[in-house]
Amino acid sequence: MSVILDDVLCTLQEEQTRLKMKLQELQKLRRELRDSTKDKVPFPMPEVPLVFRGHTEESQEVPKYLFSNLQMCCPLPGSSALVTFDDPKVAEQVLRKKVHKIDMEECRLLVEVQPLELPSMTTIQVSNQPDGQRVLVSGIPSGLELKEEELLDKLEIFFGKARNGGGDVETRELLQGSVMLGFAKEEVAQNLCQIGQFRVSLGGQQVTLKVSPYVSGKIQKAEIKCQPVARSVLVVNIPDVLDSQELHDILEIHFQKPTRGGGEVEDLTVVPPGQQGLAVFTSESP
């Protein structure tokens, strides 16, 4: 019996060695695949200098993307006012009454109150899309004293000339440290990539620029939902009887009154009749 057990033990141990080897291979493959874009993009990419400042995490579950610079805008009609309260509960309470009666010295102002809704994206799916008409121009030195428009103009002029190997430029965009140019003809883009390097005069110096194929991105799927703003309320259909400054003060007094369901007002902006406004909101967290 012990001989058979010995055999079984041996087989199991061999199997474990095999399994451990396979596991190591797969772990190595997964590490390499983290650079999967390198395989699909076999040409030099612009380099972005990065630095380690001490931020580490223990888990292997790394969030792959950072979302930042969130901004939402909402148009405001004329004859309206945007009131932002300190406390979201006050906004909620103000919205319970659709019509507000604002007392003034000789009369009453009847205005409507509604919530403000902002569009936001909840999920997104993006994939790479090679674009035969576009190229990436890189190697632009960082210390150049050129403004965005000037730089784009100079590059469009240079790469627009047939004698430089270029052609009609349809689109252009400044990226970080590089520029994207889109040409009317695919052959022009391909030709420029083949040539690869160009000596261009920029900001008084001779600079060597590299041209490579540009990979664009495409939104495959996105879900968008509208969410109301927590602390703000839109006052609409304000009768045109007061000038902006007076109206501003009267509205602020009314909406600060706790007896009227109001509270501390953080901001109040009036949009006069005949004008339009665009309210800008940014993310609360840094």
């Binding site: 019996m1 997964r30 874009t37 969130l70 148009p75 569009p119 994206m121 901001d267 909101f281």
Partner: protein, 305 residues
């Protein structure tokens, strides 16, 4: 007497065998369990790798954020059509998986970092040992970054599930007639783009507010030859990407150190010793910003701009 001795010998032998068998059985059970765990891990990894080898794709849930009022831009131009919009930046997190026995050191000056890498082999005193530590470039992954822009029109709506009963021209007229009726919630129509093939249309109104009013409900009555059809209405949303850029991260001030395996010391102590060593100009170093060492467990180290 001999029998007894023989018996004792055999008993001892059999007992030994029994104990050996029991131990073997325990071992086989343990190894079987370990093998099962290994097989599970392998399956998980294989699935992960399959996912990753599909075309480079980003599929993410976007974290919700509380919005706060910033400002109002005013324009006297009433004909300028304003949309409700949303925009944000997406960037890849670039990181390095710091393995056991490795450390990352960030210098204040790029030249110092490059010099440390050029020297390559360094001898750092850790405890009583002069440890050979190799300095090299940090290999960083490639990333992508772009801006996302979403515009929700205040003047247009998207209509779908339009019945395929009339020729294009006539259906366009029917759509305009239904959507301009204010008693139904509609308003003056600027234009109608009707696509018979997809049973859908985009309707642009002359005044702001009509679209919002109609969109309070999910459908709208479309009258064709005295029959009423309910068509679906939804906001007209345009989304696009800007400044799409694939890039490779390159570390100029941070250096990877290897050769710190098996040190029986506190990670923090080792970090201090490494920092002190590389602060000295005679060691080829200079001002040190940050040191992070991995001894007992791996870390994920984030790289920022």
């Amino acid at each position: 007497m001999e029998d007894n001795g023989h018996n004792t010998f055999w008993t001892k032998y059999l007992n030994k065998q029994l104990m050996k068998d029991e131990k073997n059985k325990e071992s086989t059970d343990e190894i079987q369990r370990e093998n099962m765990k290994l097989r599970e891990e392998i399956q998980k990894l294989e699935e992960e790798i399959q996912e990753a080898t599909r075309d480079f794709q980003i599929k993410e849930d976007i974290p919700e954020a509380q919005m706060k009022f910033t400002s109002v831009k005013k324009s006297k131009n009433n004909s300028e059509v304003l949309n409700a919009s949303c925009s944000f930046q997406v960037s890849s997190q670039i990181f390095y998986e710091l393995q056991r026995g490795q450390a990352l050191i960030t210098f204040e000056e790029e030249e110092v970092a490059q010099q440390v890498i050029a020297i390559g082999r360094h001898y750092v005193k850790i405890g009583d040992v002069n440890l050979e530590v190799i300095a090299q470039q940090v290999p960083l992954n490639t990333g992508v970054r772009f801006q996302v822009h979403v515009d929700v029109s205040k003047m247009k709506i998207r209509v779908t599930e339009i019945p395929d009963e009339l020729p294009e021209d006539q259906m366009r007229d029917k759509l305009e007639l239904s959507f301009c009726k204010s008693r139904l919630g509609g308003g003056e129509v600027e234009c109608v783009h009707y696509d018979k093939q997809s049973h859908s249309a985009v309707i642009t109104f002359v005044e702001a507010g009509v679209a919002d009013r109609i969109l309070k409900k999910k459908d709208y009555p479309l009258t064709i030859n005295q029959k009423c059809h309910r068509v679906t209405v939804a906001p007209f949303i345009e989304k696009h990407l800007k400044k799409y850029q694939i890039f490779s991260g390159v570390s100029q001030k941070t250096v990877l150190l290897t050769g710190l395996e098996g040190i029986q010391m506190d990670e923090e102590m080792v970090e201090d010793l490494v920092s002190i060593h590389f602060q000295r100009v005679k060691n080829g170093g200079g001002e040190v910003d940050v040191v992070k060492c991995s001894l007992a467990q791996p870390y994920v180290a984030y790289f920022e701009e």
